[in-house]
Amino acid sequence: MYNQTEIIKDTTNLGPDGELVVNMGPQHPATHGVLHLVVTLNGETIKKIEPHLGYIHRSIEKMCESLTYRQFIYVTSRMDYLSSHINNTACALLVEKGMQIEVPERAKVVRTILNELTRIASHELWIGAMAMDLGAFTPFFYAFREREMITDIMEDTCGARLTMNYIVPGGLMYDIHPDFQTKVKAFVKQFKEKVTEYEDLVTGNVIFQSRTQGVGTLSYEDAISYGCTGPVARASGVSCDMRKIAPYDAYDRVEFDEVIETAGDSFARYIVRVKEMNQSIRIIEQLIDNIPEGDFVGKTKNVLKLAKGEFYQRVETARGELGVYIVSEGATTPYRIKFRSPGFSNLSVLDHIAKGSKIGDLMATMGTLDLVIPDIDR
């Protein structure tokens, strides 16, 4: 047995070479969740970062094994809760692929629009939280004002604001709300007006630029070897947009650019996300007036059974490539399921790119990696 004072003495011990070991998290304002970073510091300079995971592990993959192919989709909303629509789409696409379900055009287009809206909402939240990490509080509220319009659209159509569960194998759970198109158009209009505010407040700000430029630089080779995807890899010049490489839903018929920056620093990651929002708006604008009439859900059997075998589907979430891998034994539930979540690989570069920088830089680096902890822990 040891008394309380001894524990305190123990935790205040220094590292092996007399460095300061600071526990950032699991309850820390900058980790946006229960990420625990054990940071070894030499004064203000970071020597080592060791992420400790598992505080929000809910064993979603194991849970999915006891749920049927209709039921397991809702659980995936709880992984990367900021792109829940896209997670749901990935699962639905996989089941459709495994059972050769024909998805109506209307469902495909609506899914694409909703996915892009989700991406914008996620990036909006990120831009606010990122600015907040760097000490600017106000952009958070401006970003949330636009995000609120998206959540309202989601609420109208899907009935929920965050964990929608609107996408089912074969299409959509029910038809879109009659106001959907007008509301989306209103959002697009407001977004285009208000996006300049971020330029004034954040992008152009000299303090913000000096906080992010040249900070946490990730090279092209490292981005590939660490398995980074999404905006993190694209900021380092890696072309990895699943919407371009393996188009799903209606992405093959819309025109958009894959945003690629080459600097690889925090500012490049920031710019990639801001430009991606504009590309998402471009996709929405192309599709919103051309939602085909017809069924919103294809013909499916009552009980879904995947054939025996292995299935893999990957989509582009707001954070990168989400892979769903299912081993089926031909039953109504998956035999084994695995999610390849983008956040986990993106987190793994943190130690590599933040080493040698200041504590303040860690906030910029971690902020631009856009970590969602439930996505990492699952």
């Binding site: 309380q4 003495k9 304002p29 990490d133 700000n205 303090i207 000096s210 906080r211």
Partner: protein
Amino acid sequence: MLSLESITKTIQDWLFAKFTPQIALTIECVIVILLCITLFAVLGLVLVLLERKVAARIQIRLGPNRVGPGGIFQTAADTLKLIMKEGLTPDAADKFLFNLAPFVVMMVAMLLLAPIAFAKNFQIWDINIGVLYVSSISSLSVIGILMAGWASNNKYSLLGAMRSGAQIVSYELSAGFAVLTIVVLTGSLQISEIVASQENGWWLFKGHIPVIIAFVLYIIAVTAETNRAPFDLAEAESELTAGFHTEYSGMKFALFFLAEYINIFIVCAIGATLFLGGWMPLHIGHWKDFNHIMDYIPSSVWFMGKTFFLIFLIMWFRWTFPRLRVDQLLNLEWKYLLPISLFNLLLVTVIAIMGWHF
């Protein structure tokens, strides 16, 4: 006309008529102390509420609006809550220093009130080295912060305190140089004389561009000196949770919080005195009628108005800008602010010697 000057004069005459000079002086001291503490409490409540309201308006919110009409009693309720909370002292902390630190910070803020002229002839202590006194005392507050950070025995606190030390020591320089420009123009360190020298126009207007530059430098430097965003590295909440006061709770935390706002008030009051004429109404050269009309507004209103304008400016900064990094903060001081203020001081000296100012 009823003014603060006549009230103090009446009280003083009455006291000296009634008592011996020693007792009268003691009673005056007690009154001044009580007034100071009351001013502290009121200022703390008002400024915290103001900050929250300004932040809310900038962030398209409403801000506190539940306690009292428009939420004006919100800070009073907060204070009540903080008084009732337990003031925890960590087990491994240096208990004496830990409990002393908030009072050191508070005391420094109180000492700074002495030379400020709140209205015409309404000043606690018109010391002949007023400006020097202010800049020397204000640099003492770093001791309280370092004490708090060290005694907490917390790594975040220590990091915050060290940052704060580096920051206050370096920004003291450019704040001092900005103050010196006015001293050069006035030729006096005494607050009352500095105010009197602005009778025919504030220094900001009659000192040409160098004084405007000095004013900007002063605002930047004091924002840093009071640990306000964008220079709030000592308590950068996304990096160090709460910096040097991480371990403080209850009323001890409230003292830190209060001291921060009192310091803002004081530096803004000094800024208003030096650059915007203190209690001196807006006078323009020889426009007799205009100056006469301006004189009807009480001098205390002028002083408070200018001070709160500067406070608003500093709050506006806080809710607009991101925070700097610690090395950039020092870069800004040593590479930009200090050379500019040195050059600026040279310019002002030339202007003062040649008598080019109005």
